[in-house]
């Protein structure tokens, strides 16, 4: 149960950072925290009490194993999170080159 609370706690912290902070780098760190929270939630769904890692070793009988599917999902989700973060950081570099500041409130060239 504590894993669920921890995972959703990370999700809410990440969302709060992304929605309220002004500096772009802080917003991207919030994105990273959000991704981490979601991945933790996905893995904790698959846990089976007293199970071990789903890898057979030589000479062991059938032991209780945790669910391998969420681990595969999280493998994919981590890579997708890294890809988005890399692209976002390159956009942050370009933004700083054009505007000279990373403050999102000041970057408002487009009118309504």
């Amino acid at each position: 149960m504590i894993y669920y609370i921890g995972a959703f706690g990370l999700v809410f912290i990440g969302l709060y950072i992304m929605l309220t902070k002004r500096n772009l780098i802080k917003v991207l760190i919030g994105l990273n925290i959000l991704d981490t929270g979601v991945n933790l939630f996905l893995i904790s769904i698959g846990y089976v009490g007293k199970g071990t890692a789903p890898i057979f070793s030589r000479g062991s009988e059938q032991v209780l194993m945790v669910d391998p599917v969420p681990q595969a999902l999280v493998l994919t989700a981590i890579v997708i999170g890294v890809a988005v973060l890399a692209l976002a950081l390159s956009l942050a570099i370009m933004l700083h080159k054009h505007y000279g500041t990373l403050n999102l409130r000041k970057v408002k060239e487009q009118r309504w």
Binding site: V48, G49, P54, P68, V69, T76, V79, A83, V84, S90
Partner: protein, 228 residues
């Protein structure tokens, strides 16, 4: 006013999440799909690491999408950061101390050997292509930081990235031609626990490992060349 709305909204969301999570008790086995993979995985795919057989065999299409996502991020990064003129400027940093540069040069081949071990044994122990690729990238990052090494050759990285992805798609299409299903495991499965087992899984993992490693190194290379 906004804070009150925000707090009320948050309370509703938390209540809703608790209601749904009450359906998912922690620590109980929930699925028949997971049990099937654990029980039948070794017989059907030959890989002892069940997570690998799920990632590459049962849900191999997701892995194909995942390497595409990393490819897009690398290409997008290269396209965006290329519009600056000063990419090839040599960095003016203080050179690293003797201990640091010697240590980096000593550690670099050890890291590469470790990465190759993890990639090759993806189906036998925890590990695989993505993990090994990340270790290769950290080996190169170490030399950028410690040894002040020269810039990388972009053509070589492009070649490795494209060929890695193309190998995966071609193996899938070969499965379609030989067996009638995309990504069918058509090579012999061998005996479990030996290095050359599990059909197409080691081949794909080697391609993925090289691809991910070269992509992450070229991302680091592009970002190191930026002077902000």
């Amino acid at each position: 006013m906004r804070r009150i709305i925000g707090i009320v909204l948050l309370a509703i969301v938390v209540l809703g999440i608790t209601l749904s999570l009450a359906e998912i008790p922690f620590g109980t086995p929930k699925t028949h799909v997971g049990d099937y993979y654990v029980n039948e995985g070794v017989k059907e795919t030959g890989a002892v690491n069940i997570v690998t057989s799920v990632v590459l065999n049962y849900r191999g299409f997701d892995t194909l999408g995942e390497i595409t996502v990393l490819f897009i991020a690398t290409i997008g990064l290269g396209a965006l950061l290329k519009t600056h003129k000063e990419r090839k400027k040599k960095r003016d940093v203080t050179p690293a101390s003797l201990v640091l540069s010697t240590g980096c040069r000593f550690l670099f081949p050890l890291l590469i050997v470790f990465a190759i071990y993890i990639i090759f044994h993806g189906h036998l122990s925890p590990g695989g292509g993505f993990q090994g690729g990340a270790i290769i990238a950290s080996a190169f990052l170490l030399t950028y930081l410690g040894c002040n090494r020269a810039r990388a050759n972009e053509r070589r990285y492009k070649l490795i990235e494209s060929s890695g992805g193309l190998v995966f798609v071609i193996v899938g299409v070969l499965g379609l031609i030989f067996g009638g299903y995309f990504l069918l495991n058509f090579l012999p499965k061998g005996t479990p626990f030996s290095l050359f087992s599990a059909g197409i899984i080691p081949i794909i993992y080697i391609a993925i490992g090289l691809k991910v490693g070269s992509e992450l190194v070229s991302v680091i290379d592009n970002m190191v060349g930026e002077s902000v």
